[in-house]
């Protein structure tokens, strides 16, 4: 399935990734990644890179990080068997419950890790971007926890559709800045955060929310999120008695997916990333970056992006703000190009349907982002009966109520009929 590399090159790159040799010292995952940033930020990125190398795997950092994950975030999160869903799908379905982490999504793993790092690096102020608001809430909470002021950049469109999270950020002490430029969603919020960082590269720490951007962010975020896959792997062995046949995760920028997949890369497990198929396959109708995009440079790294023939980045559509992004982390681009991970998409409607089914069968209101992974897993189960399926349940759906109220609950209607 790899179109980019010859088979032996794909194998060489994948083996290097599995051995933990990606990214290289230039921040490259094979051809992807790198550091494409304004000159003003180059010294800041060099300091960050040096700080990551010094602290991330330092014993005292890891002790503090692990303690916060255990005592403040509430890890390990549960691995839940889904008996009713399993019966309907004709599969054995297990859910890795990141929705049970503090603040309601996997985002907190990265936020608290980077907040601890920022404190160690002497930052005076933390800035963050957010799409669905989950990373904004996680950053606000983490900054309160370590005692640093926090400003969150959020697209005006997202502020409207994720109103409950905006209020949560305010209450957690963060300032929320509405971004009115560009597409007014996650991409514009990242652009605006970068512009702000340029004004004070020494004092500001940019707490990026996904495994995207210039080196070392894709690496840093992967390392902090890998706790998802490490726990899930052990829990599958303990509770299911075996590893899954296949694992699904939704992909926007791709932090929860890389967190789940990375520790499973060397195992005999099919890995499937699910992007937002939106309302259809046309440019601008979806956010299926890996499925339909081409290589390019966006917001600091060389990866796959949704762009036109002139290299202009295209606006996206997804019902889920967290997947509504025209780029994707460079490591996903490598995992796709080597054929190790398959990237497919699910539409808005499929995601809504999956969300309802999970509510009705297992009593879990999952996030609209996560619902895309369920929709794809269900289709897979139909074609491959009897498989053991692991789904990264990346976040909870409470934040989506303003969107969900626009759609009548089909299951409730059926129950009353």
């Amino acid at each position: 399935m790899s179109t980019m590399f010859a088979a032996d090159e794909a194998k060489r790159l994948l083996d290097a990734a599995i051995r933990g040799e990606m990214p290289d010292e230039l921040g490259r995952f094979g051809p992807f990644g790198g550091r494409y940033v304004p000159e003003t930020l180059v010294p800041a990125f060099e300091r960050l890179d040096a700080g990551v190398q010094e602290h991330l795997h330092d014993v005292t950092f890891q002790q503090e990080f692990r303690r916060e994950l255990r005592e403040w975030v509430g890890r390990p999160t549960a691995l839940t068997f889904a008996p009713r869903l399993s019966e309907i799908w004709g599969a054995e379905v297990w859910l890795k419950r990141e929705d049970l982490a503090h603040t309601g999504a996997h985002k907190i793993n990265n936020a608290i890790g980077q907040a601890i790092l920022a404190k160690r690096l002497g930052a005076k102020h933390i800035i963050a971007e957010t799409g669905a608001g989950q990373h904004g809430v996680a950053s606000a909470a983490a900054c309160a926890r370590v005692g640093l002021p926090c400003t969150v950049y959020m697209g005006a469109v997202d502020i409207e559709r994720q109103a409950p999270n905006v209020d949560r950020m305010h209450r957690l002490g963060a300032e929320v800045v509405a971004v009115e430029s560009g597409d007014k969603t996650l991409r514009a919020a990242i652009d605006e955060a970068l512009r702000t960082w340029v004004t004070d590269p020494a004092g500001i720490y940019y707490l990026i929310g996904s495994a995207v951007g210039a080196h070392p962010y894709p690496y840093l975020v992967r390392e902090l999120q890998s706790v998802i896959g490490q726990e899930a792997r052990q829990q599958m062995l303990d509770q299911a008695g075996a590893l899954p046949d296949v694992a699904f995760a939704c992909v926007g920028g791709g932090s929860n997916a890389i967190g789940l997949f990375y520790p499973l890369l060397g195992d005999d497990i099919e890995l499937v990333g699910v992007e937002a198929g939106g309302t259809g396959p046309g440019l601008g109708q979806n956010a299926a970056t890996l499925a339909t995009g081409t290589p390019g440079v966006l917001q600091g790294s060389y990866s796959i992006i949704l762009q036109d023939d002139d290299g202009q980045v295209q606006e996206t559509h997804s019902i889920s703000a967290g997947l509504d992004y025209s780029g994707v982390g460079p490591e996903h681009a490598l995992l796709q190009a080597t054929g190790r991970v398959e990237y497919i998409s699910a539409t808005d409607d499929e995601a809504l349907e999956a969300l309802e089914e999970l509510c009705a069968t297992e009593g879990i209101l999952t996030a609209l982002e996560t619902s895309h992974a369920y929709a794809a897993a269900k289709n897979y189960a139909k074609r491959n009966p009897g498989k053991r399926i692991l789904i990264g349940n990346s976040g909870r759906g409470d934040k989506d109520m303003p969107t969900l109220t626009k759609y009548p609950a089909r299951t409730r209607k059926h129950a009353g009929a």
Binding site: E39, T40, V297, Q307
Partner: protein, 256 residues
Amino acid sequence: MQVHERIGAALTAANEAGRPALVPFITAGYPEPADFISTLKVIAETGDVVELGIPFSDPMADGMTIQRSSFEALRKGVSLKWIFDQLDAVEGGVAAPLVMMSYLNPLLAFGYDALAERALAAGVCGFIVPDLPFEESAELRDALEAKGLGLIQLVTPATPDERLQKLCAASRGFVYAVTITGITGGGTGLPADLTDYLDKVTGMSSIPVCAGFGIREAQDVAAVGRHAAGAIVGSALVETLERGADPGAFLESLRP
């Protein structure tokens, strides 16, 4: 003489005439695509070198004015291909050497070899790429230099001395000294310690140094001109065009 050396020659000629060089910036095709070439000709009469902005969907180093101009130009169909076609059609060429300012992705999409070829034919002497740090620049630099075109390096007040030395040595045409730690279009005036910084860059560079970001008035041009070869004026000129005012008269008003 390499094509990129025309840039430095034009800047030096201005200095030899006893004045700081003026480098006006416009976003190509903004506010109206139909006025692009006529505007370009007017500013090339006063400007010693002209910087043409290629619109991009994610101008992350730019403030509101350049963002607005970029998004609007894209909405009206301006593309790099269109810009080259327009430049090719100019009879007798433009009075000043041209440099293009573009984020990397439109150049990547165009293809570096094709880019260098069309740029050379269109009278473009060099490129400024604000999201391409030196470490990632070898491929584009090689493609441009194969045609005698230059890649202009930016330096900033945050650039450490050792790196400054490296960037000055690598730059072609001129060294673009960003005056502030920030984005384009800042309205708060030039920093107090600017002169030391510009003197340092000028001292390190064997080619002319032009200062840009936050230069809006004649006094800014004069202040910068005492410590650098020239001044780059972007947002203030774009705002002049937005008001429908005469860009030639505005540029004349910047002359000390």
